[in-house]
């Protein structure tokens, strides 16, 4: 079995993924079938956000990946220029 921080990190990743999955599943799949007067609707944002938030998060992720690649390539270029 893994030890110490490995276990903590692993379990927290599993917990985070389960929380996100259950919340999103209830939001997208179950809410339309629940009567609109039920109190549970109070805990969920309007449905438009169910597509907007993952889309924005995906775009942010792409942005960070692009920035990271740009930084690495610039560093490489500088290193080769110094070596010349």
């Amino acid at each position: 079995m893994a030890t110490g921080t490995d276990q903590v990190v692993g379990l927290s990743l599993v917990a985070v993924s389960l929380i996100i999955f259950t919340y999103y599943t209830v939001w997208v799949i179950l809410l339309p079938f629940i009567d609109s007067q039920h109190v549970i609707h109070k805990y969920f944002l309007p449905r438009a956000y169910a597509v907007a938030i993952p889309l924005a998060a995906g775009l942010l992720l792409l942005l960070f990946v692009g920035l990271f690649i740009t930084c690495v390539m610039l560093k490489n270029q500088k290193a080769t220029k110094k070596a010349q």
Partner: protein
């Protein structure tokens, strides 16, 4: 057919099915709650796949089999090797 072509083919098929059902091009009269579930379905599948990936990575990190004795033995062997080589004149 390559794996990429297979994946793209499957995705294209699913995408067309979803688009046909969501825009009502097939002329089916789905109940409004079904249409409400159908609309965000691609985003939902993406988020579900991402959660599955994250959960699997976390689970594998959690249940990785460390070999503490072997690690300690390896570290001591490395130290021994460094000392030996330094004695013979190799500079690190």
């Amino acid at each position: 057919m390559t794996k990429l072509a297979q994946w793209l083919w499957g995705l294209a098929l699913l995408g067309c099915t979803w688009a046909a059902l969501a825009t009502g091009a097939l002329g089916l009269e789905l109940p409004p709650s079904c249409r409400e579930v159908l609309w965000p379905l691609p985003a939902y599948l993406l988020v579900a796949a991402g959660c599955y990936a994250l959960g699997t990575v976390g689970y594998r990190v959690d249940t990785f089999h460390d070999c503490e004795d072997a690690a300690r033995e390896l570290q001591s062997q490395i130290r021994e090797a460094r000392a030996d080589l330094a004695r013979r004149g190799l500079r690190f």
